[in-house]
């Protein structure tokens, strides 16, 4: 599968033409093929990273807003030069996971980011086996202020969407003050929307997929015999499936 490693190097160079790819697992022959390409070819489409960023921003809009306000737009765009980007491409991972880590480093609110990332995960198919989250389901435990903060940022983004040119004016709205920490929220993303559920259900869902639910509940400090009824409840309420 070495040609796949070479393809991933090409993907990295197209988004980060200055990337150091000397550590990539390539044969001497493949390195020769790569060296035959004029390095200027990697940067002909300078809008390519911004187009990929658009898709990522669509999924984590409030977190991007906070990170942009606290850092800068170039700092957000620097995702493509980050180890997060290169690692996700190299390992055929999920860009949204790497982008979330990048935003976390730029100061995105952990609660807001947690909710948006759970929503993004719920949109993706689960690849696991055993007891898995049902399609469209993901869980997250966040600070009690997270939902209120998400609402405040979404309101700001909505206002900006009504009149985007507002962002060019001196009177443009700034990042609203975020609410102070307040307890803990156990949230589950479902196809019908966000639901607040109990701690155990939420934390179990975050540990799926598993083929050892008894072990999971034991980790959470509960007796293992709870697993049987818990699994039945998760299946009955459409929060989990068995694959």
């Amino acid at each position: 599968m070495s040609h796949q490693a070479l393809a991933r190097v090409v993907m990295r160079l197209l988004h980060d033409p200055q990337a150091d790819v000397s550590a990539a697992d390539l044969s001497a022959e493949e390195r020769a093929w790569l060296s035959e390409v004029d390095p200027r070819a990697w940067s002909v489409d300078h809008e390519r990273p911004a187009r990929v960023l658009k898709g990522l921003v669509d999924e984590l809009p409030a977190s991007v807003a906070i990170a942009t306000a606290r850092a800068s737009y170039p700092a957000v765009l620097a995702f493509f030069r980050s180890t997060w980007f290169h690692a996700e491409v190299d390992h055929r991972g999920s860009l949204i996971e790497g982008f979330a880590e990048h935003l976390r480093e730029l100061g995105a609110d952990p609660g807001v980011l947690g909710i948006e990332l759970a929503q993004a995960r719920a949109r993706r198919p689960s690849s696991g086996r055993g007891l898995c989250c049902a399609p469209g389901v993901a869980a997250v435990t966040v600070d009690g202020s997270a939902l209120e903060n998400l609402n405040r940022i979404e309101r700001l983004l909505f206002e900006l969407s009504l009149f985007p040119a507002m962002a060019l004016s001196r009177e443009r709205p700034g990042l609203p003050e975020l609410a102070p920490p307040a307890g803990t929220l156990h949230l589950v993303v479902t196809p019908e929307g966000l639901r607040q559920l109990g701690r155990v259900v939420c934390e179990v869902l975050q540990r799926l997929p598993t083929d050892n639910l008894a072990g999971v509940v034991t980790e959470l400090g509960l007796p293992s015999h709870v697993a049987e009824s818990l699994e039945a409840d998760l299946l009955r309420h459409g929060l989990a499936v068995i694959r």
Binding site: W33, R40, V52, R92, L95
Partner: protein
């Protein structure tokens, strides 16, 4: 295998929300205005966004269509999954698509996610051709549809094989048809310093079921010459030369698509007339 396929004639391509963007063409309106020039629609879609209202209107009219995916990495044999296949076939069925096709390379970085639109060709080497052939064969088998891999565009190609050698190996091993994009081939030939028709005589032309024609622009980036696949109104001379040669020699050619969805109707009419003169339905 190909003889039973319908001859679709000259078609137009579309992408998600291409019509409502203002200057883009409304394929339904254009078909109604020019019924003798536009005979089918090639729908470019992905499972994340589905079919837009224009595509749905075309489907409701019952006119011929083909389905062009924008979200499957045919360069990776394990990219095909059941969720993608089910959603894609639902759309293809709704359109009454005669076959599935799409640029055969990489559409996404890492796992499938919305919005990447990478459009990267495979590494042009023998193991990559073998893997793509497996992917095409599996898609044909699981979908029960004819699959036409398309040669993608690029500013640079990596690997020792000629593009036509690579795709010739793919379609022979997969026992599939081929969507030969004449504009993309012209890009490759210039990049490698070949003449437009180099390699075509050795390609299994009987497998070419569909040809794409599109406008391109020669650009320079810090002194590096490259061709941007703009889908503007005017194809390069190289693209016309390839198209005319392939139409003459591809015995099972069924469809000729003019990818011009971003342009105004008056800009593209003459080329639709030229293509119909070349390949009448």
């Amino acid at each position: 295998m190909f003889a039973a396929l319908p001859r679709l004639g000259v078609g137009i391509s579309c992408e998600f929300a291409g019509g409502p963007r203002g200057s883009g063409l409304d394929a339904v309106a254009l078909r109604e205005a020019w019924p003798d020039l536009i005979h089918f629609l090639e729908v470019g879609a992905d499972v994340a966004r589905g079919l837009d209202p224009h595509m749905q209107r075309w489907a409701e009219a019952g006119w011929p269509a083909t389905y062009h995916f924008l979200d499957l990495n045919l360069a990776e044999a394990d990219d095909l999954d059941e969720d993608w296949l089910r959603a894609t076939l639902e759309m293809a069925d709704r359109l009454g698509a005669h076959w599935l096709c799409g640029d055969a390379g990489y559409w996404h970085l890492g796992r499938r996610e919305r919005g990447h639109e990478l459009l990267l060709p495979p590494i042009l080497c023998a193991p990559a051709a073998e893997e793509m052939a497996r992917a095409v064969g599996e898609l044909q088998e699981r979908s029960g549809r004819l699959v036409l891999p398309e040669n993608p565009p690029a500013a640079a190609y990596v690997g020792p094989l000629h593009l036509l050698d690579f795709f010739g190996r793919v379609v022979e091993a997969a026992d599939s048809g081929m969507l030969l994009d004449a504009a993309h081939l012209a890009v490759f030939q210039r990049h490698r310093g070949h003449d437009p028709l180099d390699g075509l005589a050795d390609f299994p032309l009987e497998r070419v079921v569909e040809v794409h024609v599109a406008g391109g622009v020669v650009r320079e980036h810090r002194g590096y010459p490259w061709v941007e696949d703009t889908h503007g109104p005017e194809p390069l001379d190289d693209t016309w030369q390839i198209t005319e040669w392939v139409v003459e020699h591809a015995s099972n050619l069924k469809a000729l698509v003019y990818e011009c969805e971003h342009n105004a109707a008056p800009e593209v009419r003459a080329n639709f007339e030229r293509l119909n003169a070349l390949f009448a339905p």
